[in-house]
Symmetry: C2
Subunit: 326 residues, 2 copies
């Protein structure tokens, strides 16, 4: 049943032609932990690099229940109607631990999944010991090389993945509901301040009035935040993904943002900074991984962790005692 | 001219007696990078550990010009009048690079510096390659063992040090000025959301009215933030450090916070979590330091960094190529 392995050339050519089956297999390759796959993935990424970077990268976060799937389905359909080719990558922090999934259920985004100009792919965050070994960025590059010109990276907004996503996109959108504060209970501190826009979803029916009120409140609040380096002032919008209202306004906002940051140089600067950060994060992560591979390190680490937790050993001492193994 | 080295026993006894001269020398020892000093510091910290942890740890941040020194001088004097022994540790991100200093000038906090119940000590953040090799936490432990029951950790709020400080204190206070938004230009994103309180300083004279207005605005804004794990709702206060008004209210707020988090268990839980994080951060930092000690690593790193910056090599590839040295 095992499929024949595709050569790097076959993968490269297939992706360049926009072959989705080949793209899918390339993603699997990039996500693989097998040494020979990792080597091939490196060559593939290096080869495709000149063909990457041309999409607009949008990060979307929000707690479960806020209507992310419905929003992406409706907004994504709008994008494809405008002639854009859309890739949706969902980062699912639960998938690695429980093998269950918040985002991965099959019934989500059915319409978009059948759309010939859309490509949906879940992507495990795969964090180990605080590391960031997920491959969402590399998957993004593959999608760009395959000709997708709009990438949505979706995350649930309750864990570490938002900071990660914020660091890989051009625009970070926080999806919320009206009902001041309540829907934020699950969201992590700091996310609000990272948002380039807050979009209040489910602004329909009885919810329309509270949504409009919430819009004013958030607009006032965002005013008090530190300025963005991009020169962009975070916006607040309302929409109803269900009734497909307000989506055109979201699109126009993104377009306005893009024009602004492309003309003031922030777009390119941010992309370059993100690449450098990603390089450094990967380096730290790989260093930790190779260190923790040694069984005696792992054992000493667990011992010292317990001593720190119980207040028996100062944190700095404990760290030095683990490091002293090498 | 070199002073005789104190033995660990002399240091331990001196600190336990609250001898400031010995405390100062112990701090110098803990901050030293010399291997034999580091070894002695470890033993000292281990010995003193049971005598630590009994202070209230307050982090204060704010951009230059907001009046941090004046605030700490006035508030610190109030604390000592209440019979508390206060240690003020200032983290100065500029000191390591330029040898110049935002916080270290001698004219600051003159009154407090002469106060027999106060102890002021600047502390370089000493970050290398994004690491966190500063020793402020360890200095804090020494001060606690010396009998200081209130610790203020001050930082300028423009760099990476705030997250660091937030991770080592019980309460994080953001000092601001009235004048909606302007004073935030220099502050980093995410700091606002970490604050347990926003205190608007210089609420005096013509500034009183704008300060009161700003208080209402920030109160409304903080309402929209995600809830704190502590169950504490961030407060907004106004004060004038110059006129010494509003300081008692700040003290009462801290007292209220302390009673709340001690009774709901958050205080201890947070302290334990902070220790574990500190252990992990130190571990990563030491790992990076020992890796970058190799000259060939450093060289390869610089090469790859340039390739990533110029878009010639994918970040993941570059990181793997640096790591491949070991």
């Amino acid at each position: 049943m095992r499929r024949k392995k595709l050569s790097t050339e076959e993968l490269t050519n297939g992706i360049r032609k926009g072959d989705r089956l080949v793209l899918s297999r390339a993603i699997t390759l990039v996500e693989s932990q097998r040494p020979e796959d990792m080597e091939q993935a490196e060559v593939l990424l290096q080869t495709l690099l000149p063909a990457t970077g041309r999409s607009f990268r949008l990060g979307i976060t929000g707690v479960p229940g806020v209507g992310k799937s419905t929003f992406i389905e409706a907004f994504g359909t709008l994008l494809t109607e405008k002639g854009l080719k859309l890739a949706v990558l969902t980062i699912d922090p639960s998938s690695q631990r429980s093998k269950g999934s918040i985002l991965g259920d099959k019934t989500r985004m059915e319409e978009l999944a059948r759309n010939p100009n859309a490509f949906i792919r879940p992507s495990a965050s795969g964090s180990t010991l605080g590391g960031v070994s997920g491959k969402t960025r590399e998957v993004m590059l593959l999608c760009e090389a395959a000709g997708f010109d709009f990438i949505i990276v979706e995350t649930v907004g309750v864990g570490q993945s938002e900071t990660l996503v914020h660091g890989m996109v051009d625009f970070f959108l926080l999806l919320m509901l009206a009902g001041a504060g309540d829907e934020l209970q699950g969201i992590k501190k700091g996310i609000m301040e990272m948002a380039d826009a807050v979009v209040i979803n489910k602004a329909d029916g009885d919810n329309l009035k509270p949504a409009k009120r919430a819009k004013v409140e958030y607009q006032n609040a965002l005013h008090l935040f530190p300025a963005n380096l991009s020169g962009w002032i975070p916006q607040v919008k309302t929409c109803s993904a269900l009734e497909k209202s307000g989506l055109e306004e979201v699109y126009e906002m993104l377009d306005k943002f893009k024009r602004k940051v492309k003309s003031n140089g922030y777009f390119d600067k941010n992309r370059a900074d993100q690449q450098v950060s990603w390089f450094k994060e990967n380096l730290t992560d790989l260093l930790r991984t190779s260190f923790f591979k040694k069984p005696e390190v792992k054992q000493r680490y667990e011992e010292k962790l317990k001593e720190v937790q119980s207040g028996k050993t100062p944190a700095l001492n404990a760290a030095r005692e683990v490091i002293s193994i090498i």
